[in-house]
């Protein structure tokens, strides 16, 4: 079992490091966002739907955290990796995976999600620190390139630039490895004792959803938001009653 945990940790750390490049260093096509990254991690661990659940919840929570200027937002990619790994491994090692009826599998994972998010938030500060460390270190490549140019030598600017991306990858992968592994080890000991559907955690999941909805609303709030929001609630509810 320990070998499996170690293997899973290495896989999600490398994948998470690669996905987090999209945040800053490369592409910015938003594959680093939780709604994409978490299902990828879930797929690598064997449960893409649980990853999707984790990703959707985290996406909602951090929809409005913006990389403006020098501000480094909450590392949502790191959180997506950590939260998904904890949730999936707990689900796999507990008795919840026996509840494979009426979507019971994903429901069981939903009840685990609030605790995973609660531990993920303080840990994500480490990922922000890793990001800051890399940005500080990257000045070295800038100086090397400038020195080479000013001395009239040939310099491959693309290669110097990509070294920065390599640094982002390495620091993030290491940060993920050292944070995910202890949690998965704890889960490997605690999860087998989870023998019943944890329905008492539904209120926590409901609160998580409500906070996510509020965060999303706040992110797009304008002077007409209230009217549009209430109108769409009424239209949505009417459609529900008509369809059902």
């Amino acid at each position: 079992m320990l070998n499996k945990i170690l293997y899973d940790t290495v896989v999600v750390s490398v994948a998470g490091g690669a996905l987090s490049l999209d945040r800053t260093a490369a592409f910015q096509t938003m594959v680093s966002r939780p709604i994409v990254a978490a299902p990828v991690i879930g797929y690598l661990l064997g449960y893409p739907l649980i990853g999707l659940l984790c990703g959707a919840a985290l996406e909602l929570l951090f929809i409005g955290d913006l990389p403006v200027g020098t501000y480094i937002p909450v590392h949502e990619t790191g959180m997506a990796v950590l939260v998904t790994a904890i949730t999936v491994e707990t689900y796999k090692l507990s008795w919840l995976n026996l509840y494979e009826v009426r979507g019971g599998g994903v429901m069981g994972a939903a009840f685990l999600l609030p605790a995973a998010v609660a531990v993920g938030i303080p840990v994500s500060r480490l990922y922000q620190s890793a990001d800051r460390l890399t940005r500080g270190f990257n000045a070295k490549f800038l100086h090397e390139a400038q020195q080479a140019l000013s001395q009239g030598g040939d310099v491959n600017l693309t290669a110097e630039n990509l070294k920065g991306a390599a640094c982002f990858f390495v620091t993030m992968s290491v940060a993920l490895f050292i944070t995910v592994l202890p949690f998965l080890l704890v889960v490997s000991f605690a999860a087998p004792h989870l023998r019943y559907m944890p329905r008492p955690f539904f209120p926590a999941f409901a609160a998580l959803t409500a906070v996510g909805a509020a965060s999303a609303y706040h992110a797009v709030e304008t002077e007409k938001s209230l009217v549009i929001f209430l109108a769409s609630c009424v239209i949505g509810a009417s459609l529900y009653f008509v369809v059902s």
């Binding site: 260093a25 966002r33 959707a56 609030p114 000045a139 800038l142 959803t209 909805a213 304008t222 949505g236």
Partner: protein
Amino acid sequence: MISRLSLIKVFAASFFMQSCWNYEKMQALGFAAAISPAIDEIYKDSDGEKKAALNRHMDFYNAHPYMAAPILGASIRLEEKHRSGEASADASVRFKSSVMAPYSAIGDGFFWSSIRPLASCAGILAAFFWGMWGPVIFLLAYNVFHLWMRWVGLKKGALMGEEVVTFVKSLQMPKWGQRARYAACALIGIGVVAAAWGAASYVRYGFAHGHVPRWALVFAASLAPVTLGLNELIKRGLSIPKLLYLAVLPLILYGMLKY
């Protein structure tokens, strides 16, 4: 204008403009690396001028990564003009310095504050109804705008030079960003109803199997007003992590006691 091949190389390199982001000159090295295929072509006969051009593009630079495309294109055009004697050596650098702040504000307001939340809401709603299509719809909804700006912005900049500001102005991005936020708000409203509908299904399931999930009933009935109430707390300065802990931690403890 530079050759199509060089333009494509610049386009590809622009995706790595933030690879070496640092606190000293921010995206300077990335910008210089991105413009280097064009500089290689423009100054192919003069190694000294090529190095001088690359050196001046290693100055401090920080802008929204997608709005960098018209800046990049215009800088290429200005370097061509300098080569032919129509512009001074520092014309491109002055142009970059003058537009990077306002373009960053436009890009942040349009892409980060409007399009990304809209795509996220669409993706989350799609995930609720159609599972794995959620991430696909999110990526499609977002990258249509993203990739269009990168390619068209670069081409227009390379054609128009400094006049690319009229092109960017014509896009009316603040206005369309506002509309995107309205659309996102509508999707959030529909999402709240969908979540309440999901909870109501759970209530029916519970009743059918002999237990009453009271919490699910409360959730289904109150999600919309609770969303608005929590939003008021966020507006008063409560951060999302703190709100999460205030709302969720006591209920996790409740769950642990009842389990």
